[in-house]
């Protein structure tokens, strides 16, 4: 486990970036963060805070959405990533699991997983072994391996997307909302897997998550993003104790967990409308 007191090598460094979509919509207004080697870093924040955008900026996927980084810099292992294409980045060990699954509908689950190994020059044997590993992690996938991904349930697709990323044997995984739509048991499992990979194989994670509760339980360090700015950051356990975080992100009031039935008044904190 990572020792937070010891200075470690920084893998990924995001420096004050600004992102604009469609030439007019300014979404990120100066976001900085860093991901240490071997750490799990969480990126928290409400809807539309810009988590996905940040991750896409890192993995250079913005282009295809008509977005661009207009200011600031991103570097991986101290080398700028701005002019690498996504596939070069994957080769360097950075892979993103996209929000909303994005499985290849017409490919079978197994073929989906195999595409994850696309950038590796690995032989058949090695790939078969990794495939086995993914099936170990997600037994449900093994059952559905011959069906087209388009016909699998939401959760199965999520597993498939994560498994696919693992097939590239990454060094850093950018995980966008891994828990979305997953059954609680599976959420625990997936985070367990994240932790496992992190500890045993030293894979670093940057994960964007809405489920603050779980995220902060597994992460080492967290950033909280609101309307395109980092408003708070700190080690995970400190964040967990912060009263604001408790109130707004963990749903805890002073006397334990509130019931959803009891929240009677609407809040007027529409950050996303600013």
């Amino acid at each position: 486990m990572l020792d937070t007191t010891e200075p470690t090598e920084t893998l990924l460094e995001v420096n004050n970036i600004e992102v604009i979509y469609n030439h007019v919509i300014l979404v990120l207004k100066g976001v900085s963060l860093s991901v240490p080697k071997g750490g799990i870093t969480a990126l928290l924040g409400g809807n539309g805070a810009g988590k996905t955008t940040t991750l896409k900026a890192i993995s250079n996927l913005l282009h295809s959405e008509r977005g661009e980084v207009t200011k600031g810099s991103i570097s991986y292992r101290n080398a700028p990533v701005a002019d690498l294409n996504p596939s070069a980045l994957v080769k360097k060990g950075v892979i993103q699991v996209m929000e909303g699954r994005h499985c290849f509908e017409h490919l079978t689950i197994e073929e989906n997983l195999m595409t994850g190994a696309y950038t590796r020059g690995a032989g058949r044997g090695e790939i078969a072994k990794d495939l086995e590993m993914v099936y170990e992690y997600f037994p449900r996938l093994r059952e559905r391996r011959k069906s087209q991904a388009g016909y699998t349930s939401g959760g199965e697709q999520q597993m498939c997307a994560i498994g696919r990323a693992l097939m590239s044997r990454p060094e850093t995984v950018l995980l966008d909302e891994p828990s979305m739509g997953l059954a609680p048991q599976l959420v625990e499992e997936i985070f367990g897997i994240v932790k496992d990979l992190n500890e045993r194989e030293g894979v670093s994670f940057l994960l964007a998550e809405q489920n603050t509760n779980v995220a902060l339980r597994f992460a080492h360090y967290g950033y909280i993003l609101e309307s395109g700015r980092v408003v708070m950051d700190g080690p995970a356990d400190e964040l967990r104790e912060n009263p604001d975080v408790k109130e707004f992100y963990l749903g805890m009031s002073d006397d334990g967990r509130k019931s959803f039935r009891d929240v009677r008044s609407y809040r007027r904190r529409k950050r996303w409308l600013s």
Partner: protein
């Protein structure tokens, strides 16, 4: 800040739903209309009318029609040429069979007949989707062209199979035939364009338009929400074909004066109109105008520049025209896949922010 939206508040929903919610736009619209009706007729000559303005107006109607079907309802059609042919032949048959029928009715009836044919060919759209449908509409294109070519009844058994528009008058002025004055033909088409564009706008902003767009964006979800897909698609095919039929009738009767089905209404026509709506902007009334203007003006302009100004040999100029038009289409799509209408919108957005971006 030259262009502002701010400071205008709507007090009723009806006001909020008007076509040009911004005063500046509204005035621009009225001025354009006034110019079109009151000024242009006095300046128009044969060349402008026949080379630019008439085809522009007529293609606007076709583009509106196709935009309803493809841009709003999401059903890509490559049968436009065939449907225009239906309009043209219907108007020819009506004109020759009922010489006393008012030309306005002739045109409208031709549209109606085309609407029926369009709905017939729209039936498979319930099952066939996307590009499969696009290719399937070619069946209509080829079949209709074959039919009008093959069955002599459609061209009144003339030796060559060409149809020629006899002279018809409106308020004592010839609108079709050789003696039509450009200003009159122009006004005649303009009235159709204005009325039909206005109707299209109304159709697309209300319940119907939403049904169409819902089918376009996600047909399954639309059906689950309560949109009857067959009925909706058929209305789209019907309305769209009506427009296309009217435009085909005008193209033949007012603009060309004579036509042969394979040449005037071949597959190239289908592509031409499709170009117009894509370049102009799918799902946009303004886009239909912009796209038609672009596709009509561009070649004329290029020709005049290359041959007129630089003295290129005509064939090299024509080859370059292909290269340039093709290249421009690609460039446009890259710069703004949603067409001129979107470019215009973004320009306005920028203008609104100017001089303080963000």
């Amino acid at each position: 800040m030259f262009y502002r939206e701010a400071g205008e508040f709507k007090t009723t929903y009806a006001k909020d739903q008007q076509t040009f919610p911004i005063a500046l736009d509204r005035w621009g619209y009225f001025i354009t209309l006034a110019l079109a009706f009151l000024a242009v007729p006095f300046f128009i000559n044969d060349y402008w009318a026949n080379a630019v303005v008439l085809p522009f107006l007529i293609y606007v109607i076709a583009a509106l029609g196709l935009n309803i079907l493809t841009g709003y309802c999401g059903q890509v059609s490559l049968g436009t040429g065939g449907f225009m042919a239906v309009g043209a032949y219907a108007s020819y048959k009506l004109m020759t069979a009922f010489p006393d029928l008012n030309i306005v009715f002739v045109i409208l009836l031709s549209g109606g007949i085309t609407a029926l044919v369009g709905m017939l060919f729209g039936l498979p759209s319930l099952r066939i989707k996307g590009f499969y449908l696009a290719v399937a509409t070619l069946a209509a294109q080829f079949f209709l062209v074959w039919l009008f070519n093959k069955v002599p009844w459609f061209y009144n058994y003339s030796a060559s199979g060409q149809i020629s528009a006899p002279e018809r008058t409106l308020f004592g002025q010839a609108v079709t035939g050789a003696n039509a004055v450009p200003a009159i033909s122009y006004l005649f088409c303009l009235v159709f364009v204005v009325v039909l564009a206005w109707a299209a706008r109304n159709l697309t902003r209300g319940a119907n338009g939403r049904k169409w767009m819902a089918i376009r964006d996600m047909d399954i979800a639309a059906e689950i929400i309560g949109v009857n897909p067959l009925k909706t698609k058929l209305t789209a095919f019907g309305v769209s074909s009506f427009y296309i039929g009217v435009s085909g009738a005008l193209l033949f009767a007012v603009y060309l004066g004579a036509a042969e089905v394979g040449e005037a209404f071949g597959i190239n026509k289908s592509f031409l109109v499709l170009f117009m709506i894509i370049i102009g902007g799918l799902g946009s009334i303004f886009g239909s105008f912009a796209g038609a203007a672009f596709m009509v003006l561009m070649p004329v302009l290029l020709k005049n520049i290359m041959v007129g100004q630089f003295g290129f040999p005509t064939d090299i100029a024509a080859h370059f025209e292909f290269v340039i038009v093709g290249g421009l289409i690609v460039v446009f799509l890259i710069v703004e896949p949603h067409g001129l209408a979107m470019l215009w919108r973004i320009a306005k957005e920028k203008l609104r922010l100017w001089p303080f971006p963000h």
